[in-house]
Amino acid sequence: MKALLIFLFLTNVNNTFAATNYIFSPEKGSVEFKTKGWPNLITIKGQGQGVTGELKEDDKKLSGKLLFQLDTLNTGIDLRDDHMKNKYLEVKKYPEASLTLTDVSLPKENDGEINFKAELSLHGTTKTVTGVAQLESENDTVKMTAEIPINLSDFKIETPSYKGITIAEKVNITFESSVIKQL
């Protein structure tokens, strides 16, 4: 009986302080950016593989670091990719972008929309960015989508320009991942 009480107590303590890990795999998501070219109003989109890393949920707060390999970005035009990666993002020097979250409050039932602040490291510069994330929980997986607008100059990225087309300063980054929950 005593052993049973001890077991129940320990189980309860374990549940009370349980932390959930969210594991991100590149093949289970994607990162996309979208911007405009001026003055000719073209839409430029690029897509890369999903982020990697792990976020930890503790007491309804989410923390952790996600990484994205910039070299996986593809805009559909080889020359544009070459300019983007080598001239502007300098991926050989700065191959990864990272997003660090610290104590981001989660919605009830881990489902719904949250506004968050995070540290984005890109092109050798780290800045606080704000974004909006959407969470959809289903059994052991959570679908996360997030949108983060950035200004290129905040990350010391020269404004891309080519043969009369200049890219807008503001770039919208979205990422989505199907994440496995691990208790």
Partner: protein
Amino acid sequence: MKLLALTIFLSTILYSTPGFSFVQNVTHGYPSCIACHVSPNGGGLLTDYGRSLSNELMSTWGVSDNFAQPFFGGIKNRETVKWGGDIRTAQTYFKNKNINEGQFFPMQQNIEAGIKVDDIMFVGTLGLQQGPERAPRRGQFLSERHYALWSPTPTSRVRVGKFRQTFGINTPNHTRLIKSLFGFGALSETYNLEFTQFFESYEITLGSSLGRLDLPQEPASDKNLSGHFTYYFNGNSRIGGSLLMGESSQKRRFLSSVNAVVPFGEDWILMSEIDFEQSFFNVNPQEAVDTIASFIRFGNKPFKGFMWYLLFEHASVESESAYSLTQQPGIGVQWFPIPHFNIQIEYLRQVNNTLYSNPNEIGYVIFHTYL
């Protein structure tokens, strides 16, 4: 009737002078024409970016940047001077129970230049009218376009001169019934004033045409007012509408149009337009003549620079005293093996309600080199 059909076919295909804008590039994030063309409604003189895109996006095999320059590297574009031009030849084929005819001939030979002075670009073509041996004015001097284009702001254009009016979808093929039936077919450049404003997700063009000032005896050329609206969405699609009210020495007309370019997945593209015209001819001003024409093309890109497509065109002309229905399903391919060169092959089976048992088999191969 069949000879008339042949004559109409030849008069559109043989003398058509498409500006070769490629509206399907909307699916790659280029909803407006001015990324690649100097002209706000596309066609003709390319921007430096357009030349680069031809190399990078549109051709199966890219070549050196120098080869993509005007005259295959023979001339360098400068900030204030741009060069271009078109050389096209065609092999046509027309067959029914009464006629079986094929012709090979030059369609178009010209050079085009644009000179920029401050915010105004002066653009003009110089060439000779081409076509088969019996073509009128063949071999005579022809300037298809000459206009001044003012850019008061980076996102607005005012254009005055001779050019093709903005109306409907910017397809380069002016043999389409949606073009040829409504005065936008072969050699239909008129003297116009147009204002275009580009916004982030739409564009508006307002225009007025004075018709063919250089050919005042041309009866079909009307004076008109027009408006055109295009909305871009999803970064890869567009829908648009156009209205026109015109009057010529033959008739008054009201013309309206809706069109769309929408991708399906990565490799499929749908282009479609439907036009409605109500005309009142001077010979019988009380009787309305209603013309409806539609065009739908579904294309697939199995690899870069190559597209095959299915299309269907229809046109009906109806008045109290007459009714005519033409339908033409077809299939075609268009291939850009290298920048500034393309081959288009198309076959149409044209059936008219008055001659169901004797359809027209129409085909052509066009070789186009953009200088």
